[in-house]
């Protein structure tokens, strides 16, 4: 390989896999981390002065929607991976709810090849559990796993039929690939737009009760126990679900889970038009019914958000995944009922997570762990998600204290659908290095 070496000087290196947190230099040669130490010198290397910055293993997103193929007006592999690089992500996993869905060899190959050609970061694929994601017949899971699919999911839809879920969990043990379920009991969520509770009542919209999630999570855990299949619960949003997962983990069931940046930082109160506690609320305003805060699972209440933060702290939540869900203008510029579900957040994920560091709820190294090394562990890889000598030079450098304001016009993502537009954030990605190449530097993307 003929890449110019990079020498990152004076950064604060944090790598949870080796309990590393110290000021060191790091040298990158041939796409790999070749040296870590003090006062490293290299005459020809491109030098990055990382003084005052955090040097972290590149972030890994196990759950994002690139919309390509089929919904290119919402996002493409090119724009989605540019957004990922801007957010500090070096590897992302594309969910299969594309058109056609990623339920066949040809669709998976398309995403893999298009990503190689036009992607700014590494893209891994998640295959559909069922053909057409309609919950009826399994996809050729062994064939797809041989192509490199890292998990299976019908995300966007739950695997509704308990028998199909059972068979999927059982069959997936052949390749030891996780089954990722979007837990939602559809009869309970039908017609629901936001969390069911005082806010949905006040807004006069149908709510989605918390039980819609935990009921299916419990079913899936029982099926995992029955089959031994590796179960991953996507985007956990309620305390009840977390309690069930905690019990399952304690009894040795093969289950993991993730949480999104919005479910650890935002409550349903944002739908009222301001993010204040419900009791102080007096009247609706023109910011009420923000369609950009319409997401599945819905933003929940403060008890749930606190439970999510606790889940990160006590390890019940394995990692943070974005569920980046870009949508085109008209999909959100309509009534709450007509708007699509989803938040474009891959470019704000780090800053959202860091807000929990800045208000002293979660340590910096734990945030980094949940963004990088824990997802790597889930992927069963030691090449990425750490800063060890010999590992791939996938590195994110960020300023934890930089103040900036979210402006969706500056997003690389085509999806401008963020409920935190105009929010002041603290902490921003400065460099994203993928396989030893700078892909993002100070708001600019590089090929």
């Amino acid at each position: 390989m003929n890449i110019k070496p990079i020498l990152i000087k004076n950064g604060r290196l944090i790598d949870p896999t080796q309990n590393l947190d110290s000021n060191k230099d790091i040298l990158i040669e041939n796409g790999l981390i070749s040296k870590i130490g003090n006062n490293l010198i290299h005459s020809t290397a491109h030098k990055i002065n990382a003084k005052g910055l955090i040097v972290s293993p590149g972030f890994i997103d196990l759950h994002c929607h690139l919309r390509d193929p089929g919904y290119e007006s919402s996002e493409t592999i090119k724009t989605g991976t540019a957004a990922a690089a801007a957010g500090g992500y070096t590897t992302i996993c594309a969910m299969p709810n594309t058109n056609p869905p990623m339920d066949s060899k040809i669709a998976i190959k398309y995403v893999q090849e298009e990503s190689k050609k036009n992607g700014y970061v590494n893209v891994l694929t998640i295959g559909a559990i069922t053909k057409n994601r309609d919950g009826k017949e399994l996809t050729p899971m062994v064939e797809l796993a041989e192509l490199g699919v890292v998990g299976f999911s019908d995300d966007g839809n739950p695997v509704y039929d308990a028998n199909i879920m059972r068979q999927a969990l059982n069959y997936s043990t052949i390749t030891n690939t996780p089954i990722i379920n979007h837990c939602e009991v559809l009869e309970l969520s039908k017609g629901g737009l936001i969390n069911e509770g005082p806010i949905s009542t006040r807004l006069g919209v149908k709510g989605i009760p918390w039980a819609a999630e935990s009921i299916m999570a419990y079913r899936d855990i029982q099926l995992s126990k029955l089959t031994g299949g590796k179960l991953h619960i996507a985007h956990v949003s309620t305390k009840a679900t977390l309690d069930i997962i905690k019990d399952a983990k304690e009894s040795g069931i093969n289950v993991t889970c993730e949480v999104t940046p919005h479910h650890i930082t935002l409550t349903e109160n944002i739908l009222l038009g301001k993010d204040k506690s419900g009791s102080e609320f007096t009247s609706l305003n023109l910011n009420s019914y923000d369609t950009n805060a319409k997401v599945k699972p819905p933003l929940r209440n403060i008890t749930d958000v606190e439970a999510m933060i606790n889940g990160i702290k006590n390890g019940v939540i394995d990692f943070i995944a974005t569920d980046h869900a870009p949508h085109k203008f008209l999909s959100k510029n309509t009534t709450l009922e007509n708007a699509e579900f989803g938040i474009s957040n891959i470019e704000t994920a780090l800053s959202s997570a860091l807000s929990l560091f800045h208000n002293s709820q979660i340590s910096l190294d734990l945030i980094i762990e949940k963004l990088s090394s824990s997802p790597a562990k889930f992927l069963n890889t030691s090449d990425i998600g750490n800063l060890k000598k010999g590992s791939k030079a996938d590195i994110t450098i960020f300023d934890p204290n930089k103040i900036w304001t979210v402006n969706y016009n500056e997003f690389y993502s085509k999806g401008k659908n963020t409920p935190i537009n105009g929010y002041k954030m603290k902490g921003k990605v400065i460099f994203t290095i993928v396989s030893g190449k700078i892909k993002f530097e100070n708001s600019k993307i590089y090929d």
Partner: protein, 319 residues
């Protein structure tokens, strides 16, 4: 933001107590005009009112039309259907079109809660919410407040009982806000399945409300009883066993009325299902204010149009 929201009438919560009382006061003047032999004043001459109704409605639409015409405004009525295939594109573009023809006010009814807020955000023209999904119906609430105030001389400390489908009722939501702002005590009554779960758990965002599922207990000491319309489809969605069971438990009959204060009055936002949520005897009996509500609705809507379209100029209501 406050002033932006004040430009519109999206729900009654954008008014303070004083502002509500001002509208009720103005409505009294409008009522006098409405009762004239020649009921026409030039107040809103040269103003264009557009009613944009995405749901069928007779009484609210003709009430607004009548109010506008008495004040000499030009009224354009658009009745259309919400089409999910348009995904709201038409709603955004429709409001821009109406704005471009130089409408002075848009009155919208829409099956989706929050639709008037979406319009208000995208429109220079003031918006009046004439009913949005299960969320709000502020002009209905104001006419109910006027009717109660006109009848009882006050609203403060009155005992108001709302009966029925609170869960899906925009009239109930706006009335809870309006009545509690004016100091009434509100009792909600009905089957648990038609009361929001957070009311039952006392976690709601409203003031001055209590819940009582027994109608007989709820109406004790009532000054006003307001049955709400029961929609037939509540049966198929599992909210009700059947309408017979509902009317046995929650229909407002003369027997129920006799348990309330002797001075009790009955309101209903209409249209009524006589024999289901209210008996015909009560609906057309001496305690009913239901027809008065309809007339008051015109006066109240005149007052609203006047205050929104003619706020700066002096009130010119002389013949």
């Amino acid at each position: 933001m406050t002033s932006e929201v004040k430009k519109h009438l999206l729900d009654i919560d954008c008014y303070s107590k004083e502002e509500i009382l001002q509208i009720l006061n103005n409505s009294k003047i409008m009522m006098e005009i409405l009762n004239r032999r020649v009921k026409k004043v030039p107040t809103l001459r040269g103003k264009t009112i557009v009613t944009l109704f995405y749901e069928p409605s007779t009484r609210t639409r003709i009430s607004f039309e009548q109010a506008g015409k008495i004040l000499n405004a030009d009224v354009i009525n658009i009745a259309t259907k919400e089409s999910s295939s348009n995904k709201g594109e038409s709603l955004l573009n429709t409001v821009l079109t109406i704005q471009s023809i130089k409408a002075d006010i848009i009155i919208i009814r829409h099956p989706h809660a929050g639709a008037p807020y979406f319009l208000a955000k995208n429109s220079e023209v003031p918006i009046i919410n004439a009913g949005d999904g299960s969320h709000a119906h502020p002009t209905q609430s104001l006419l109910d407040l006027y009717t109660i105030h006109n009848n009882s001389g006050q609203i403060d400390n009155l005992n108001i009982v709302m009966v029925g489908d609170i869960l899906y009722s925009r009239v109930a939501r706006s009335n809870i806000l309006g009545l509690s702002t004016l100091g009434a005590n509100i009792t909600l009554c009905g089957p648990n399945t038609l009361i929001p779960q957070d009311f039952l758990h006392k976690q709601h965002l409203y003031k001055n409300i209590t819940f009582e599922h027994s109608l007989k207990k709820a109406v004790k000491n009532a000054d006003i009883i307001m049955p709400l319309r029961i929609q037939l489809e509540r049966q198929s969605s599992g909210h009700l066993p059947n309408l017979q069971e509902y009317s046995k438990q929650w229909c407002i009959t003369n027997d129920i009325v006799s348990l309330a204060k002797p001075s009790v009055k009955i309101l209903h936002p209409g249209p009524m299902n006589e024999g289901i949520e209210i008996s015909s005897e009560v609906a057309h009996g001496s305690k009913s204010l239901i027809q008065e509500q309809v007339t008051n609705g015109v006066a109240v809507r005149m007052a609203i149009l006047y205050s929104m379209l003619n706020a700066e100029s002096k009130m010119e209501l002389e013949r």
